[in-house]
C-alpha cells in the first residue's frame, strides 16, 4: 500500500435508527474511503443516503439515534471527540455540499462572509487571505463577476450559482474529505453539467477524497472510482465503477439501470387542438417580460413537453395556463372557446378541466390530512360525491395510480416521496381533467420512482385520453413520455415539433446544447438491450 492508499475515513458496523419507531435507517454499514478516493453512493429516496453522508461528518440528525458502530477519521472517533474539536475538524478537514443550496445559506448574510466564516472563526486564514482565496475559487468555478458576487445575498443569485458557491465554501479550507449530497439534483440539465464539471475539476485539483451521494447511477459513474449501492439501509453492492456498469450483481442495481425504458409509439394527430395559446406575453408585477410571444397547441390524448433550463420561463407558462398569472397579451382557447386569463373568472367546469400537478408533492399536500380527505375534496367539489360513493371512487383512483387501498386513512405526512407524488396525481385525476399540467413532477424523484411515474402517466393517458403538458428539464423523461415538444429559452419558444424530429435533428443551437448536455450522461453507460 502506497501513501495515497491509506485509509482516510472508515465506518464500522454503523447502526442508526429512528427514535420514534425504532426503524433502522442504517443497518450495519461498513465503509472505507482512502485518501483522494471518490466514492459514489447510490440509492433511492429513503434508503438512508443522507443519514450516511452526515454520519461521515459526525452528525446525527435529531430524531435519530446511533445504536452502535463508529466513524473514524484517521483513527479519531467522530462520535466521541468533544464538540469544540469536532467543529474545528469540520472546518479544517471536512467539507459538505448540501442538496438544496437555496436553503443552505443564511438569508441575511452576504455570500462572501458566509464562505469565509468558518476559516476566520477557527483562525485558519486572515481576512484578506480568505477573501482572496474565496474570490479566486468563485472564478475557478466559472461564476460570473467573482469580485462582486460575494457581496450579494443568497436570494440575489440563481440556484446553480448558489450551488457552486457552496462548493467554494466546502473546499476553501482544502479539506481531506468532502461529502456531496445530491449537489445537482435540483438543477436543470445544462446547469447540472456545469456544476458537475466544477466538482470534477475541484476534486482533481485538491486531491480530496469524496463521498458523492446521488440517485442517478449514470451520473455517478462519471465522477466516482468506486460505487456503493445503498438499499434500505444496507450497502448491497460495493464495487469499482466499471463493474457496477457492466456487471451489476444485485437486482436493485439492475433495476436502477433499467430506467430509460419505454419509448412512445406514434399515434394519429387529432384534428382540433384542445388547448391553444396564441402569442402569450407576460411577466411578474411591473417587471420585465418573462414570456415573449409564446404559442402552442395541445390535442386531446397527446403529451406536449415544454423543455428548458431553469429561468427559461417554462414554469411561468404553466402558471399562465393554470390561470395563476394573467398574460399581458395573447389569448388562450380551450376547445375553441376563449379561456379567461384569471382563475377567479373561470367557471367551475373550466377549473375542473385543467388540473395542475406540482413539482413538490410535499408542498402541495396537507401533511396532517389523511389520504381520503385529500381525495374527497375534489370529488365533492367537482362531482358532488360524498360518503360511500366518494370512498369507492377514491379507492378506484388509488388503484389507478398503483397505490394500495389500505393507505386510505393514513396521513399524508406518513407517505414516502414517491407515494406522495402518486397521491397528488390521484387528486388531480379525481377532477377528471381534460388537460393535466405537470410541472417538473419527476425532478425530485430518483430514477426508479421517476420511471414509475412516467409509465403511470402514459397508462393513464391511454385510459382517459387526458392531454398532458409536461414541463421538465429532463430530456430522457421527454423521450419516454412526449409526442410533441417545445424548447424554451429566455422566454421564447426556440424550437417546436414532434419529439422524434426535434431529438433527432435539432434546428436551434440551444436545443443542440441541451441535447449534448444530457446525452453525455445517459447514453455513454447505458447497457444495451435494457
Amino acid at each position: 500500500m502506497g501513501v495515497d492508499a491509506r485509509t482516510l475515513v472508515s465506518m464500522r458496523d454503523l447502526v442508526i435508527r429512528r427514535a420514534s419507531d425504532d426503524r433502522p435507517v442504517l443497518d450495519g454499514i461498513n465503509l472505507r474511503i482512502r485518501s483522494g478516493e471518490v466514492v459514489g453512493l447510490v440509492g433511492e429516496s429513503g434508503s438512508g443516503k443522507t443519514t450516511l453522508g452526515l454520519a461521515l461528518l459526525g452528525r446525527i440528525r435529531p430524531g435519530l439515534e446511533r445504536i452502535r458502530g463508529h466513524v473514524r477519521l484517521e483513527g479519531e472517533d467522530l462520535f466521541s471527540v468533544p464538540a469544540a474539536e469536532l467543529a474545528a475538524l469540520r472546518t479544517a478537514r471536512l467539507g459538505y455540499v448540501a442538496q438544496n443550496a437555496l436553503e443552505a445559506f443564511d438569508p441575511a448574510w452576504r455570500l462572501l462572509r458566509q464562505t469565509t466564516e468558518a476559516a476566520l472563526l477557527h483562525g485558519l486564514m486572515g481576512e484578506r487571505t480568505a477573501t482572496n482565496a474565496a474570490t479566486s475559487l468563485y472564478g475557478e468555478l466559472g461564476l460570473p463577476d467573482p469580485e462582486e458576487l460575494g457581496w450579494r445575498y443568497p436570494h440575489q443569485v440563481s440556484g446553480g450559482q448558489l450551488q457552486r458557491i457552496m462548493l467554494a465554501m466546502a473546499t476553501l479550507n482544502a479539506p481531506d474529505l468532502i461529502v456531496f449530497d445530491e449537489p445537482t439534483t435540483a438543477l436543470d440539465t445544462s446547469t447540472q453539467e456545469t456544476v458537475l464539471k466544477a466538482v470534477r475539476r475541484l476534486l482533481r485539483k485538491s486531491g480530496a477524497a469524496a463521498l458523492y451521494i446521488t440517485h442517478d447511477l449514470s451520473l455517478v459513474t462519471r465522477i466516482a472510482q468506486r460505487i456503493c449501492v445503498l438499499h434500505r439501509g444496507r450497502i448491497v453492492e460495493d464495487a469499482p465503477a466499471e463493474e457496477i456498469v457492466h456487471r451489476p450483481r444485485h437486482p436493485y442495481t439492475r433495476a436502477l439501470w433499467g430506467v430509460a425504458a419505454g419509448v412512445r409509439r406514434s399515434r394519429p394527430v387529432p384534428e382540433q387542438p384542445l388547448l391553444e395559446l396564441r402569442g402569450i406575453r407576460t411577466g411578474y408585477g411591473t417587471g420585465p417580460d418573462i414570456l415573449h410571444d409564446v404559442s402552442l397547441q395541445l390535442a386531446r390524448g397527446r403529451t406536449l413537453a415544454v423543455v428548458g433550463e431553469s429561468g427559461s420561463g417554462k414554469t411561468t407558462l404553466g402558471r399562465v395556463i393554470a390561470g395563476l398569472l394573467p398574460p399581458r397579451a395573447g389569448e388562450m382557447l380551450l376547445d375553441g372557446e376563449p379561456l379567461p386569463p384569471r382563475l377567479k373568472d373561470r367557471t367551475q367546469e373550466m377549473r375542473r378541466r385543467i388540473q395542475f400537478l406540482h413539482q413538490s408533492a410535499d408542498g402541495a399536500l396537507n401533511p396532517s390530512h389523511d389520504v381520503f380527505m385529500i381525495l374527497s375534496r375534489p370529488l365533492a367539489l367537482f362531482h358532488e360525491l360524498s360518503g360511500r360513493a366518494a370512498q369507492q371512487r377514491a379507492e378506484e383512483l388509488l388503484e389507478m395510480v398503483d397505490l394500495p387501498p389500505d393507505i386510505l386513512h393514513r396521513r399524508a405526512a406518513r407517505l414516502s416521496g414517491g407515494q406522495k407524488q402518486r397521491l397528488a396525481l390521484a387528486r388531480a385525476l379525481a377532477a377528471e381533467p381534460d388537460v393535466l399540467i405537470c410541472d417538473e413532477v419527476t425532478s425530485a424523484l430518483d430514477a426508479v420512482l421517476r420511471n414509475g411515474i412516467l409509465q403511470l402517466l402514459n397508462r393513464i393517458q391511454e385510459r382517459t385520453g387526458t392531454a398532458i403538458l409536461f414541463i421538465t428539464h429532463d430530456l430522457s423523461a421527454v423521450r419516454a413520455i412526449a409526442d410533441e415538444m417545445i424548447v424554451m429559452h429566455e422566454g421564447q419558444a426556440v424550437e417546436a415539433g414532434s419529439c422524434a424530429d426535434v431529438l433527432k435533428a435539432p434546428q436551434s443551437e440551444h436545443t443542440r446544447r441541451l441535447l449534448a448536455a444530457s446525452g453525455a450522461g445517459s447514453s455513454r453507460f447505458m447497457p444495451a438491450g435494457q
Partner: protein
C-alpha cells in the same frame, strides 16, 4: 473591507425607480393602521350608543322624572343625532381634544378627559414597562434554552412550569403574592395606591408586587412564543449547514439565528406589551393601582361616555401602533426586501 464593492452594493439597493420598496411597503402599512383606527373609532362609538342607560339616568337615579332626564340630556347635547355627535367627537380627537368628562361637570365646570386620562395612562405604561423589563429577558432566555434543548428534559421542565402559570388566573397570583410577601413576610406594601406626589423610589417600591404579578402571567406566554418560533428557525437546513461547516451551535445561534429572528422577536415583544397595557384591569383592581384600566371601569359604571371612548380609543391605538412597529421591524430586517434583486 473592500470599499469599492461596498459602494457597488449600496448603489444596487437604491435603484428600482425612485422609491425604495421598503418605503413603499411601510407607507402602505401606515395608511392601513390609520384606516383600522378609524374603523375602530366607529365601532367604539356605536357600541357605547347601544349601551343601555345613559349618564343622565345614572346621575339622577331611579326616581328621576322624565323631564329632569330630558333636561340634562339636552344640556349635554345627547338628544342630537348620533352621526353628528360622532363627527364632532372625531374632529375633536383629531385635534387632540377628547372632550369633557361628564362626572364632576356640575361642580366645577367639568374636567377635560385628557387631564383625567393622561396621568392614569402614564401610570399604566410605567407598570407595563416595569413588568416587561422583568418578564421579557427572563422569558426570552428560558424560551431560547428550551428551543435549544427541544424535546429534552430541560425543555419539558420549562414547559410544564410555564403551562402552570398560564393556567393560573392573575388575581390568584396577585393575592398569593400579597399574602406571602406583603402580609407574611412584610417585605413590600400590599397596596400600590400611588398619587402624583409619590416620590419615584417609593412609587417603584409599591409597583414591585403588581409588576411581579403581571410578569408571572406574561412570562409563560413570551416563553412559549419564543420557543415555538426559535425551534422552527433552528430546524432550518442552513442551521445544520452552519454546524457542518464547523460553526459551534452557540455561535450559530448568536450570529445567525437570532438576527434572523429579530422580526419575530419584535412581534412577540409588541404583542405582549400591548396585552399588558390593555389587560391590566384585574391586576390594577387587586393592588388598587391608579391605572387607566381602573379609570375605564369606573367610567363605564357611571356612563361617563367621553372617558370610556377615550380609553377605548387609546387601547386600540396602543394595540395597532405596537403591532405596526413590530411589522416595520420585521419588514426592515427582511433581507429580501432590504436588498432587492
Amino acid at each position: 473591507m473592500n470599499r469599492r464593492n461596498m459602494g457597488k452594493e449600496t448603489g444596487g439597493t437604491e435603484r428600482c425607480g425612485n422609491v425604495h420598496p421598503l418605503v413603499r411597503i411601510i407607507a402602505g402599512r401606515l395608511v392601513w393602521a390609520f384606516l383600522s383606527l378609524l374603523a375602530v373609532s366607529v365601532i367604539i362609538f356605536a357600541a357605547l350608543e347601544m349601551l343601555p342607560g345613559d349618564f343622565a339616568r345614572s346621575v339622577l337615579g331611579q326616581s328621576a322624572t322624565p323631564e329632569a332626564v330630558a333636561a340634562i340630556r339636552h344640556d349635554l347635547g345627547l338628544d342630537r343625532p348620533a352621526a353628528i355627535r360622532y363627527i364632532e367627537w372625531l374632529s375633536g380627537v383629531l385635534q387632540g381634544d377628547f372632550g369633557t368628562s361628564l362626572s364632576g361637570r356640575g361642580v366645577e365646570g367639568g374636567r377635560s378627559v385628557a387631564e383625567l386620562v393622561l396621568p392614569r395612562l402614564g401610570n399604566t405604561f410605567l407598570l407595563a414597562l416595569l413588568a416587561m423589563a422583568i418578564a421579557f429577558p427572563l422569558a426570552f432566555l428560558l424560551g431560547l434554552i428550551a428551543a435549544m434543548n427541544r424535546g429534552g428534559r430541560i425543555d419539558r421542565a420549562i414547559n410544564s412550569v410555564a403551562l402552570a402559570f398560564v393556567a393560573m388566573p392573575e388575581f390568584l397570583i396577585g393575592y398569593l403574592l400579597i399574602y406571602w410577601i406583603a402580609v407574611r413576610a412584610g417585605l413590600l406594601p400590599s397596596l400600590a395606591s400611588v398619587g402624583p406626589d409619590t416620590p419615584l423610589a417609593e412609587r417603584l417600591m409599591r409597583m414591585i408586587l403588581p409588576a411581579a404579578t403581571l410578569s408571572l402571567t406574561v412570562i409563560a406566554h413570551i416563553l412559549r412564543m419564543t420557543r415555538a418560533s426559535l425551534s422552527e428557525l433552528f430546524e432550518r437546513l442552513w442551521m445544520e449547514a452552519l454546524q457542518l461547516k464547523g460553526i459551534p451551535m452557540a455561535i450559530a445561534v448568536r450570529r445567525h439565528a437570532l438576527p434572523n429572528a429579530s422580526g419575530t422577536i419584535a412581534n412577540i415583544f409588541a404583542f405582549n406589551v400591548a396585552w399588558l397595557i390593555t389587560g391590566v384591569v384585574v391586576t390594577e383592581r387587586v393592588f388598587v393601582y391608579p391605572g387607566i384600566g381602573q379609570l375605564m371601569v369606573d367610567a363605564v359604571t357611571s356612563r361617563d361616555v367621553p372617558v370610556v371612548q377615550a380609553c377605548a380609543l387609546i387601547f386600540a391605538a396602543v394595540y395597532i401602533g405596537l403591532n405596526l412597529l413590530a411589522d416595520i421591524v420585521a419588514i426592515a430586517t427582511n433581507p429580501r426586501l432590504l436588498h432587492p434583486r
